[in-house]
């Protein structure tokens, strides 16, 4: 049977009443948990796993996949509305999305995020349907040295994402890397910078870090500016949706984001979050409106939000065709499959094709359902901003703290959240960019693990590591970019000095 006819029979399997309802429940739960900051796919799936014991494997899988996709849709909501990233993949959406919200374009940003998620999610699913086995093999060529190289390249390319002072950004990246080393050393088990605090032993939760820096920091900053109250709250219903101009600008960004997201998402671990940063950087470089960046450029929402959904689909590639989850939510999805006696992997397509194609088909249907559910919600969520700020902010604060507590059921995390909130507030007032800090913290552990594992694999020789074709090429590109940007900034400084003398 050809791929298309298998897919069609899979569609038929999903359209049975039970499975269809399961899919709707899944995407609804996914959307809701995505909207609540802190509660991501992991939390939602963990809650659903025990409840799913009585369901048939296909129904349960379809529901899990709905949650998996749904959570990625909802993630952007709080980023755009109140500057609180719900998960790593929505951090970059804060930058332009929140600026748009401040200008009263929250609805447009949310709608573009939903449409982009749909387009890129579908693109990703098409890629998954037709190229999965091939791509999965390619993904295996990436070992620890390659992760190290990718992370380094990412760091070099992205550290100055805001395009302001390279020196300030570099400082932020360094601090981010340092924060990332807190906790026990992954190779030797030695505790680092924990100051004897046992809660720091496993390191700092990335999402607590970002929720604090962006979310709590923003709330604190808002408290200091009471005069702006009420200014941004006036908009008509028609303004809730993007206008023609905004859509025209977003569409190419969505497609680019979709392609980038899918390719980068094939990378294990941090692929999804990195893809959003890369998409942001690419859109910024290509934009015809460079003056808008940092002040609510719609491409900066459309691109990254599309990228993370395509990456989400890409992460299903190794899961379904190899049986290997490349991130924590994938791992939970795998656990869900396993307790229903389904082992995804090379065998699934041949031993249980009906189930395999039902899962794939449910991803297409889930995407359509999510668009249908999310577009009307745009109006509801955007209207939340009409709530006076003195009522809205405390509510947001409570939701943030509740979400942060839900991640590990830990009061200590709430302390950290507050600490990073104050840090974010101070940095913001001092005109430091938060994005490089977050990127440094995020890539730090990948870089460290990749380097240590890669060095053992390369017999302790950095030259051997450089001689690996993929890793070596990426590292050399990284080095070239770094040298180029250093030389360029020296040249610019000299030119500026000359101009000053003259």
């Amino acid at each position: 049977m050809s791929t298309v006819s298998s897919l069609l029979s899979g569609m038929a399997a999903v359209m049975t009443p039970t499975n269809f309802i399961a899919s709707i429940i899944g995407v609804l739960i996914g959307t809701l948990t995505g909207v609540l900051p802190g509660l991501g796919i992991t939390g939602a799936l963990a809650l659903l796993l025990p409840a799913s014991y009585g369901l048939s494997p296909a129904t349960a899988m379809i529901m899990f996949c709905g949650v998996y996709y749904g959570a990625m849709y909802g993630g952007s909501t709080t980023s755009i509305l109140v500057n609180i990233p719900g998960e790593g993949a929505s951090v970059v959406t804060c930058i332009e999305g929140y600026e748009m919200a401040k200008k009263g374009r929250a609805g447009a940003a949310l709608a573009v995020a939903a449409i982009g998620s749909f387009i890129a999610g579908t693109m990703g699913t098409v890629g998954l349907t037709f190229f999965a086995p091939m791509l999965a093999k390619a993904a295996l060529a990436f070992g620890p040295p390659e992760y190290f190289a990718i992370a380094i390249l990412g760091l070099v390319l992205l550290f100055n994402i805001s395009g302001k002072s390279p020196l300030k950004s570099a400082l932020m990246v360094m601090i981010g890397l340092m924060v990332g080393t807190i906790g026990f050393d992954p190779m030797t088990g030695v505790s680092r910078f924990t100051m004897g605090i046992i809660n720091l032993e496993d390191g700092i939760e990335f999402i607590i870090f970002t929720m604090g820096l962006y979310g709590v920091g923003e709330i604190l900053a808002s408290i200091c500016k009471p005069e702006e109250q009420g200014e941004m709250m006036k908009f008509k219903f028609r303004d809730l949706y993007p206008n023609r101009e905004e859509l025209k600008r977003s569409l190419p960004a969505m497609f680019r984001g979709g392609i980038l997201g899918f390719l980068i998402g094939l990378m294990p671990g941090p692929g999804m979050t990195i893809s959003t940063f890369v998409s942001y950087a690419v859109e910024k470089r290509l934009s015809k409106h460079p003056e808008e960046w940092g002040h609510g450029a719609i491409e900066g929402v459309a691109g990254p939000e599309s990228a993370n959904n395509a990456a989400n689909a890409a992460q299903m590639v190794p899961l379904l065709s190899l049986g290997l989850p490349f991130n924590s939510s994938g791992a939970l999805l795998l656990a869900g499959f396993m307790i229903h006696g389904v082992a995804p992997g090379p065998m699934l397509m041949s031993t249980n094709p009906d189930l395999f194609w039902a899962i794939i088909a449910s991803l297409y249907i889930g995407n359509v359902l999510l668009l249908i559910i999310n577009l009307p919600l745009v109006g509801v969520f955007a209207s939340l901003l009409k709530i006076p700020i003195n009522i809205l902010l405390p509510i947001v604060m409570v939701i943030t703290f509740t979400g942060a507590y839900a991640i590990n059921n830990s009061l200590f995390d709430l302390g950290l959240l507050l600490l990073f909130g104050v840090l974010g507030f101070i940095l913001k007032q001092a005109k430091f960019d938060l994005a490089p800090l977050v990127i440094g913290m995020f890539l730090g552990s990948t870089i460290e693990k990749g380097l240590v594992q890669g060095m053992i694999i390369s017999n302790g020789s950095f030259m051997t590591l450089l001689s690996r074709p993929l890793a070596g090429t990426m590292l050399k590109i990284g080095l070239a970019v770094l040298l180029f940007s250093i030389l360029r900034s020296i040249y610019r400084a000299m030119k500026a000095r000359k101009a000053a003398v003259v």
């Binding site: 809701l32 948990t33 909207v35 609540l36 992991t42 939390g43 799936l45 963990a46 809650l47 796993l49 025990p50 993904a139 295996l140 060529a141 070992g143 620890p144 026990f184 050393d185 992954p186 190779m187 030797t188 088990g189 505790s191 046992i198 809660n199 032993e201 496993d202 294990p268 190794p318 190899l322 049986g323 290997l324 924590s328 791992a331 939970l332 656990a335 396993m338 307790i339 082992a343 995804p344 992997g345 090379p346 065998m347 509801v380 209207s383 939340l384 009409k386 709530i387 509510i395 409570v398 939701i399 509740t402 839900a406 590990n408 059921n409 830990s410 693990k449 594992q453 053992i456 694999i457």
Partner: protein
């Protein structure tokens, strides 16, 4: 009018958030009423089960499976609460410091040994907690890629002896069970291979299949489907006896092959110390029935673990023995200084 709708919406979101965080805490707030000094009615309200790991992992899934089974024999809901962090010490400390009234129990596992032995926590959990029951065990498996040049353990060891340091072997979690199995394997056979620590079995399997490492020491569940698809070959396992699972029934133990060591990861349940004797007895009985319940047993097998019950005394002995072994071996290889 509209304002009302917004407020109710946000209230709804709040309620949902709270519901999702699981308000399991309220079980501690209601004190048992009319408690007679001589007679303890137990259990008369829901019981909280602390799981010291994140949701979704094997400890969590086992805990949830057993919690569900316990409800049948205790007649009260058992609420699972994840308290991850600090390599299981956060959850272990929480359990240790909770009221010893039988309303807070917790899952305990080899991770607590690691944190005790590495002095991450000054507490010796084997002594400071009350072991209730062992629930599941699992050996570790040494496997290579099927298209590699080694088909048997002897061939592998011969190659490793001729090429010291050339073989890279993957395991998970420094100081954990797979690390212990790897260390014992190297020590007993006298070969020189390089360890690479991965976070999670899947990452190690990916590196093995991609040819970045030559061997991996992981749990049976990590390899299972790759054994079925014949992508990896298991050379030996670290248990006392062979695994029942048909996929693994032909895999010899190291002991069978003449290498005298074993390493078994275990998962059990415990409670705070100094519980009233009757309460402890009731809990022990309920756990015995639960772990031996055919339905629970099957669920444990589905998780890739071997169901195994033992009494509190046997369990404590095993816990202490494992602890001594970890201390000795990890000191010997220089991990504990």
């Amino acid at each position: 009018m509209k304002k009302k709708a917004f407020v109710s919406l946000t209230v709804l979101m709040l309620v949902l958030a709270m519901a999702l965080t699981g308000c399991g805490g309220n079980s501690n707030s209601t004190e048992p009423q009319g408690q007679d000094k001589n007679e303890i009615k137990y259990p008369e309200r829901p019981i909280t089960m602390i799981i010291p790991n994140s949701p979704g992992g094997s400890t969590d899934l086992l805990g949830r499976t057993v919690a569900k089974g316990l409800e049948k024999y205790l007649g009260q809901p058992v609420i699972v609460q994840n308290k991850p962090g600090g390599s299981t010490t956060i959850g272990a400390n929480e359990l240790m410091n909770s009221k010893p009234d039988g309303y807070t129990i917790g899952s305990v596992n080899t991770g607590m040994i690691t944190s005790s032995v590495f002095k991450k926590s000054p507490t010796n959990y084997a002594q400071e907690l009350e072991p209730i029951a062992l629930a599941a065990i699992s050996p570790q498996i040494l496997a290579v890629k099927s298209d590699s040049e080694w088909k048997t353990l002897d061939e592998f060891i011969k190659y490793a002896k001729a090429n010291p340091g050339k073989i890279k072997i993957g395991h998970t979690s420094v100081g954990g069970s797979t690390h212990m199995a790897t260390a014992l394997f190297e020590k007993t056979t006298g070969i020189e291979i390089e360890d690479v620590t991965f976070d999670g079995g899947s990452n190690a399997v990916a590196a093995l299949l991609g040819g970045h490492i030559q061997a991996a020491m992981l749990s049976p569940v990590d390899f299972k489907q790759f054994m079925e698809s014949k992508q990896v070959t298991a050379l030996a396992e670290t248990g006392e006896e062979r695994i029942d699972d048909p996929v693994y029934k032909d895999v010899p133990t190291f002991k069978e092959l003449g290498y005298d060591f074993s390493e078994i990861l275990w998962q059990g349940f415990g409670a705070p110390k100094n519980m009233p004797e009757e309460v402890k007895q009731k809990l022990v009985e309920a756990f015995e029935k639960t772990v031996n319940d055919p339905e629970v047993k099957q669920a444990i097998v589905d998780l890739g673990l071997t169901p195994k019950y033992s009494t509190p005394e046997e369990f404590k002995k095993m816990w202490l023995e494992t602890q001594d072994k970890y201390k000795e071996v990890f000191t010997e290889i220089g991990l504990i200084k």
